[in-house]
């Protein structure tokens, strides 16, 4: 909070200084201020480094653990760097066909994301751009907001029982449908905010210029919101990539097992190697890190849209 007001107060002080002090005196004061400024900057940066450390250290530690030998693992106190790095855990994890899990996760999360957008974009468009009765739109949007809050475990049991009655447990397409459906409300809610940020004029101009509604959406609206759309897609993908509870109920075999379940599977019961768990955890975090650093701008926008839009 000091930092927020900092600049303004600083200029204020400077103004007072320049009007009341002598020339030499003023230089001294300015130098002191500069030092204070540097000190403040240093402080802020140090705190931020600490925060970054706090954020990243578990990931470093897990990656480290994945290459430690059993002896290193048993060493007290824990070694900060491996003395005898081994890739056994990584070999094991790939022998356990974690690649298949990754492919499953990619397929399920990818398709679910695409389908979710295919369902949600028209709905958000209709809710913001077409002349439906306001009351109706209000009810739909409020409902969507509530559903976005629904804890997945609450719908997991009924959906599981429904799924088992229909005999569609343990199918990739079931997961895809469920992920699509579970995220639709959230996606509509967020997309609605995005659409509301684009002035309706531009689309109307396209209509006036002789475009169809669909054409206006395709040629004008979608290109305009593409960055947001992209970040929402990334967000949905990450949700799906991480989804755990539904998968817990609906995954029965290697052919559907997604990464989070596979990782939990590595938590040893009669197994010996923390390294394997660590390796699995590292694999799961890699795409997240990649996404965070390559798509930073998109991501920050996307993550804040739903509520800040």
């Amino acid at each position: 909070m000091r930092a927020t007001g900092g600049r303004d107060v600083m200029t204020n002080e400077q103004a007072i200084d320049s009007s009341t002090s002598e020339q030499i005196n003023q230089e001294v004061v300015l130098a002191a201020q500069k030092r204070r400024l540097n000190l403040k900057k240093a402080l802020v940066v140090v705190v931020l480094y600490m925060a970054a450390f706090w954020t990243l250290v578990p990931m470093y530690w897990v990656a480290l653990t994945s290459v430690k030998s059993l002896r290193d693992l048993a060493h007290i106190p824990p070694r900060l760097f491996p003395t005898d790095p081994r890739i056994d855990a990584w070999v094991t994890i790939f022998e356990r066909r974690i690649l298949e899990n990754i492919v499953n996760s990619l397929v399920v999360a990818g398709f679910a994301t695409i389908f979710c957008l295919l369902v949600a974009v028209p709905a958000a468009y209709a809710a913001t751009r077409m002349r439906l009765p306001l009351r109706f739109v209000g009810i739909v949007v409020a409902l969507m907001g509530l559903v976005a809050l629904l804890p997945p475990i609450a719908s997991a049991i009924p959906l599981y029982l429904l799924g088992s009655d229909l005999g569609i447990i343990d199918e990739k397409y079931t997961l895809i449908i469920l992920y699509t459906v579970l995220n639709t409300a959230f996606a509509v809610w967020v997309l609605r905010g995005t659409f509301m940020d684009v002035p309706v004029d531009v689309e109307e101009a396209a209509l006036m210029d002789g475009d169809t509604r669909f054409g206006a959406v395709r040629r004008i609206l979608l290109p305009l919101i593409f960055p947001s759309l992209f970040s929402i897609a990334i967000l949905l993908f990450i949700f799906n990539w991480n989804e755990y509870i539904i998968a817990l109920y609906f995954v029965n075999s290697m052919s559907t097992m997604t990464l989070p379940i596979a990782i939990q599977a590595q938590i040893p019961q009669h197994e010996l190697d923390w390294g394997v768990v660590s390796a699995a955890g590292t694999i799961a975090v890699v795409p997240v890190l990649v996404a965070a650093f390559t798509l930073q701008r998109f991501l920050v926008r996307g993550l804040t849209f739903g509520v800040a839009g």
Binding site: M1, R2, D8, I153, I157, A185, Q264, A292
Partner: protein
């Protein structure tokens, strides 16, 4: 001095008004179906509504039916709910959920606010990079977060105890005792969800116009005054939203518990989600578990109602 330029009546043409009536109020559905345009719009919304019904309406109705029957499908009225009231395990789980929310939500909010203010200050260099680092935990799945922290807390593998030992303190076996396990889980949850608070509050701060600080400074407000009088009122709606979202997130967590304590020691770290999962899948009583689901739903929806209300107010203000 009066300036009597606005003598009335100005409308001047009341004469025309007589023969035009406002359209008769028709039902929402009649209004929707009357125009082709609206029918198209409805067709666009229907898939999402179907999704809504599938994840929302159907499960709630089904849960309602499950509650009224026992595991063999026999109707037993409200027996599942009354049984819940005397179920000490359930009560423990409910209390744990709330207890954790009470600790995690304020700590995350403060942490998030502090970081948001730091990032917004001009001292923070490349904001985009800092932000993308700080929000990484948000994108890590619960189970992975739990697994990572389980390793961090591990008596021999873990890093958490290293600084304690360096300071000459007794290492703490975090997940062994009920109270330290609680603290440990709270730390995991703060790690996992405080970035959400950070992000929301940062977005909120960005809505505060910079010039109000200049105005406040000109008016002679101190930095603290400016913060309390300007910043806080501006980010208040976002603050409320963040509070409720954090509450919902922290109460629904299951993966972190599954991966760290697995509910132990004893049942000290069972929360509602964990209880429901165990009851439906290990103890094989999905019908009874549904009663707990209803409690959780109520909790979420009370929070959710407030959430929507705040958001609604905010939208109207614009």
């Amino acid at each position: 001095m009066s300036v009597p330029q606005d003598i009335s009546p100005m409308s001047g043409a009341d004469a025309h008004r007589a023969h035009v009536q406002p359209p008769a109020r028709e039902g929402i559905w009649a209004e929707i179906f009357r125009y082709r345009d609206n029918r198209v719009a409805l067709a666009l919304i229907v898939p999402s509504l179907l999704a809504l019904i599938l994840v929302q309406l159907y499960p709630i109705l089904y849960t309602g039916w499950l509650i009224l029957t026992n595991e063999k499908g026999v109707f037993i009225g409200l027996a599942n709910l009354t049984r819940l009231t005397s179920d000490t395990i359930f009560r423990g789980a409910l209390i744990f959920s709330l207890k954790m929310a009470i600790v995690v939500v304020p700590v995350s909010l403060l942490l998030g606010l502090g970081l948001a203010l730091l990032i917004r200050s001009e001292y923070a260099g490349r904001k985009a990079i800092w932000i993308s680092i700080l929000i990484i935990p948000l994108m890590v799945s619960e189970i992975v977060a739990g697994t990572m922290w389980k390793i961090m807390y591990h008596p021999t593998l873990g890093l958490v105890n290293v600084p304690l030992t360096l300071l000459g303190l007794e290492p703490i076996i975090w997940l062994m005792k009920a109270n330290t396990a609680f603290i440990a889980l709270c730390i995991v949850e703060v790690w996992r969800i405080s970035p959400l608070a950070f992000l929301l509050l940062y977005a909120g701060l960005n809505q505060v116009p910079r010039d109000i600080y200049e105005a406040a400074a000109v008016d002679g407000a101190t930095r603290w005054r400016a913060f309390w009088d300007m910043t806080i009122p501006y980010i208040r709606p976002m603050f409320s939203i963040a509070t409720i979202l954090l509450f919902v997130w922290s109460t629904r967590t299951i993966g972190t518990i599954a991966a760290t304590t697995a509910g132990g020691p004893g049942r000290a770290t069972w929360n509602l989600s964990w209880y429901i999962y165990g009851m439906s899948f290990q103890r094989l009583k999905p019908h009874y578990a549904s009663a707990a689901v209803i409690v959780m739903l109520l909790m979420t929806y009370i929070a959710g109602a407030i959430f929507v209300k705040y958001l609604w107010v905010e939208r109207k203000q614009r």
